[in-house]
């Protein structure tokens, strides 16, 4: 491993100040990514400092991983090289917020919770209900590409990020997009940064469209004995005019994981729905849902009070975190498919796990996203062999429309397979993107799809 510590210490100190630099192994432990520890970590306080750090990294051939609160750093492959951690948590300011225009510009290291509090003062919010919400930063959230149950209504970050400033692999501070809600000036380069786990650059500032907080929320929970019925019910809701805010389908093992938080039914399958609106709108939705559930062979149908709606959203949002708390060695896969193929895909995933005798849990979103968890309590060699075989099949689960990846797994699994699945025909285009953004290959080398 190259040792930037001594040679670089004074130069880095000049850029960020000595107090914001460490090469003390005890302190560096928390910056480890998949067991690989950097030789130094820095906490820049401004975008131009990040740019200077990247220039230095290029000159000294240092591999860099940018990060926020490190809650989702286990997404991706172990780094092939890793010298310098760039901790972005000092860049935590709101740069501008125009509540009347519903637009916002923030530094990348701002915690979601702090931002949510600022927006709530103006009865607004960002629809980013993502795992580890209490600690996560906005930059880490966008870089990790994790989704939110609220995508049913609001879409994902690509739908409400308006512009971004970032440092590219040559140390240039660049930007794309803007601060207005409609804009086609130049290439939408910021969309490439979303979900790229820091492999293209370091986000320093992000502009968003904000949303008004709904006046009132209601929720409902329908129980089913068969997966087909649960997914068919969800599909009926998608095709109805009801436009729910969230629409989640989960099985009994997933309900047990969420259980501490919400009063779930005792049925094999559950469909949880929430909706926003005024009293008359919510009455209408409640009535329609009750009728639809009856026609869909629901075994149970309950209305949830507002506190249950809130804890349901929190539980759904935190599903990966709750699963990992209970089953430290769990494997969580994310499979996307068509709405009409969700039931059969879930059955297939379950049979793959059952064949290997591995317990599993399913939480799915109505838009066609399935979280499939293998609930492991041990990671001995024979178990890991079965898990690896199982995981390989999961990421390439049948169906030409499906896409799969492993969101979280023990390190042993990553030694055996790529969590991103096999590169697809668009991989050569991704290589060209990487080359344009990071010509020296200094950002998170080896962590992204196909070893990018």
């Amino acid at each position: 491993m190259s040792s930037p510590a001594k040679a670089m210490r004074s130069r880095i100190g000049e850029i960020v100040g000595a107090a914001n630099f460490t090469d003390d192994p005890a302190q560096l432990a928390r910056y480890a990514v998949d067991g690989v520890q950097p030789s130094a970590a820095v906490r820049p306080g401004a975008a131009n400092e990040v740019a200077e750090l990247v220039k230095l990294a290029v000159a000294e051939k240092l591999a860099v991983i940018p990060m926020g609160e490190r809650t989702k750093l286990n997404i991706g492959m172990p780094p092939a090289r890793y010298d310098l951690a760039i901790d972005m948590t000092r860049l935590d300011r709101v740069i501008s917020y125009d509540p009347g225009d519903l637009t916002l510009s923030v530094e990348a290291g701002i915690p979601l919770a702090k931002l949510a509090a600022t927006l709530a003062e103006h009865k607004q919010f960002l629809p980013l209900e993502v795992p580890f919400h209490e600690r996560a930063t906005i930059g880490g959230t966008l870089a990790s590409g994790v989704d939110s149950p609220l995508r049913q209504m609001y879409g994902t970050a690509r739908d409400f990020v308006l512009g971004m400033e970032f440092v590219t692999g040559d140390g240039a501070l660049a930007k794309s997009g803007g601060r207005v809600v409609k804009n086609v000036s130049g290439y939408d380069l910021h969309k490439l940064m979303l979900g790229a786990i820091g492999s293209l650059g370091v986000m320093t500032r992000i502009n968003f469209k904000t949303f008004p907080l709904p006046a009132e929320l209601r929720g409902w929970l329908a129980g089913f004995t068969r997966a087909e019925d649960a997914f068919a019910f969800a599909q009926t809701i998608r095709k109805s005019p009801l436009a729910p805010r969230t629409l989640e389908i989960f099985d009994m093992p997933a309900a047990a994981i969420l259980d501490a938080q919400i009063p779930v039914g005792r049925t094999e399958w559950n469909v949880a729905i929430s909706a926003a609106g005024n009293g008359r709108v919510l009455e209408r939705i409640a009535g329609d849902l009750q009728n639809l559930s009856r026609n869909a062979n629901a075994a149970a149908f309950h209305a949830l009070d507002s506190s249950a709606v809130a804890s349901l959203l929190t539980a759904n949002r935190e599903f990966p975190a709750l699963t990992a708390n209970k089953f430290t060695d769990c494997v969580i896969a994310k499979i996307t498919t068509l709405a009409t193929q969700m039931a059969e895909t879930v059955q297939l995933l379950k049979s793959i796990a059952a064949e290997r005798g591995l317990p599993c849990a399913v939480l799915a979103r109505g838009v066609g996203v399935i979280y499939f968890a293998l609930l492991l309590t041990e990671r001995d060699a024979t178990t890991m062999e079965r898990v690896t075989q199982c995981a390989r099949e999961i990421v390439s689960v049948a169906g030409k429309n499906n896409r799969g990846m492993i969101l979280r797994s023990p390190l042993e699994l990553k030694r055996e397979m790529s969590v991103w699945g096999a590169p697809r025909e668009d991989f050569p285009l991704m290589q060209r993107v990487k080359q344009a953004f990071d010509p020296h290959g200094i950002f998170a080398p080896g962590r992204f799809v196909g070893g990018l």
């Binding site: 225009d101 690509r158 086609v184 969309k191 209408r284 498919t337 896409r403 025909e425 668009d426």
Partner: protein, 498 residues
């Protein structure tokens, strides 16, 4: 400011290239006579550039071969849908081959259950909507040109439209693309399912103005048609009343499906032609639409009506039926046609500002117009702050064209000062490339160029677009008014190439 004619290349097309194109596409799929070329030298903008031939592929394989030939002969290629664009995006600025997708116009699949459609790029926007309507669905982006413009063109320009206020622009509705790269490969990105692992290539290619790839197939998201729709026409004696209404509707967190404004000058021009029922003596009208569940629509319409009245609307009319609603929208969507009756040449800008800045920006546009001796009409997507000031000028007077452009530039500069952007939905193309340095630094543009060069290394695909060609930093140059029939490279006798 430097006035300088840009250097249009004018090499005649190699006759071997033409005959090779004809050999594999068929003679009826290649146009090169001067009278044919004339029809492809313009689009909806004020720009002019003449291609040397137009080809009509029927399949992605044809496009692969066209691109291969273009590379072999080092000839520029430009994709084109219906040519309704407003920034010169589909013009052959440096000559070469226009690839018209007019014959790749099949709707390949409407997957109603999954709310997806797969289409060829030449499918007309309203044809897709008609096909989806029977399943209770629509393709949400609805540019005013939707009866003519194609989905391929919508993808290239990341087109908007009135209803994108609530539903989002084209990029929010595109899930997958099949493309022919300028280097000749046929590649698929994305697909019917969401969130494919890897970089969001769809997010990059949509809106890249035909500079990164030629799109040969598109997978789109369809959206459920609303259960109920209400269209309101709020009539004002003061322009400020209308703009203040928009500020308050936005601030209250009400998102109408559409919120359009026409000022008095524009609505009178429209009314004279369309007879939509816009009151001739008003200073401005807002055309506001709310849609969704019946119960929600009732409530939002009531709330919006109240806001309109608070800000001095003298009357708020609600369209009683679909016919009245269609008439109001006909007035809006045919506005540019109506302006065309007053003047054969006009210049429309596409600036965007934060919604809170609407009142002061409209005042400034008025001031800039008066200062330069132009009356400027305003018709625009008020709800998302996307302005379309219209400047009428006389094309016979080259000085007037230059002054119209510099007036429009002054408006754009003000938009940028307000924290806005140079184009909300029309694209940069060859019209606003010179304005890019007002918004982006050298570093921003250098990265965008690197991305372009990564996919379009020889620069043969749609050259001369988006990126400023000026040497000096921030130097803005204005071309003289392009004249029809004086586009680049007019070959004397087209049949020579046959």
């Amino acid at each position: 400011m430097v006035f300088e004619r840009l250097n249009y290349s004018s090499t005649n097309m190699d006759r071997h290239l033409l005959s090779e194109l004809e050999r594999f596409l068929g003679k009826d799929a290649v146009l090169s006579r001067p009278e044919d070329l004339l029809l492809y030298e313009y689009d909806g903008s004020v720009e002019i550039a003449r291609p040397q031939c137009i080809v009509f592929p029927r399949a992605a394989g044809d496009v692969v071969r066209i691109v291969g030939l273009a590379n072999r002969y080092k000839t520029p290629i430009v994709g084109r849908g219906a040519g309704t664009g407003l920034s010169g995006g589909a013009l052959a600025r440096e000559g070469g081959i226009i690839v018209s997708f007019a014959r790749m116009n099949q709707i390949l699949e409407i997957d109603a259950e999954n709310q997806r459609a797969v289409v060829q790029p030449g499918v007309v926007n309203s044809d897709l909507n008609a096909a989806a309507a029977s399943a209770g669905l629509h393709f949400a982006p609805d540019p005013s040109s939707q009866k003519a413009c194609t989905i391929g063109g919508n993808v290239s320009e990341n087109a908007g439209g009135p209803h994108t206020l609530a539903y989002g622009v084209t990029t929010n509705h595109i899930l997958g693309l099949e493309m022919v790269m300028p280097t000749g490969e046929l590649v698929r990105i994305g697909g019917k399912a969401v969130d494919a692992p890897g970089y969001d290539l769809c997010g990059l290619f949509v809106g890249s103005e035909g500079t990164l790839a030629l799109v040969t197939e598109i997978t789109v998201r369809l959206t459920r048609l609303p259960e109920a729709v209400k269209t309101l026409l709020a009539i004002y004696d003061r322009v400020d009343g209308a703009t203040e209404t928009v500020v308050e509707i936005t601030g209250r967190g009400i998102t109408p499906a559409a919120c359009e404004m026409l000022d008095g000058w524009t609505l009178r021009a429209v009314e004279a032609w369309v007879h939509a029922g816009f009151p001739l003596d008003s200073a401005a009208v807002l055309l506001i639409e709310v849609d969704g569940l019946r119960e929600a629509v009732e409530q939002h319409a009531k709330e919006i009506s109240e806001v309109c009245k608070t800000h001095g609307a003298r009357e708020v009319r609600v369209a009683r039926d679909a016919a009245e609603r269609d008439l109001l929208w006909k007035g809006r969507k045919n506005a540019f046609g109506a302006v065309g009756r007053l003047s054969p040449t006009y210049y429309v800008q596409d600036g965007v500002i934060p919604r809170t800045k609407l009142p002061q920006t409209l005042k400034e546009i008025d001031r800039i117009g008066k200062e330069n001796g132009f009356e400027i009409g305003n018709i625009f997507h008020a709800g998302d702050g996307n302005l379309h000031p219209i400047i009428l000028f006389d094309a016979r007077d080259p000085k007037q064209f230059e002054r119209a452009v510099s007036t429009a530039d002054a408006i754009i500069r003000f938009c940028i000062e307000m924290g806005g952007a140079i184009t909300g939905e029309h694209g940069v193309g060859m019209e606003k490339d010179r304005l890019m340095p007002l918004l982006f630094t050298e570093a921003d543009l250098a990265l965008m160029r690197r991305v372009r060069d990564a996919f379009n290394p020889a620069g043969l695909l749609n050259p001369g677009k988006i990126f400023p060609t000026g040497k000096g930093c921030g130097e803005v140059r204005i071309r003289p008014m392009p004249q029809r029939g004086e586009g680049n490279s007019a070959p004397a006798t087209g049949r020579d190439f046959a």
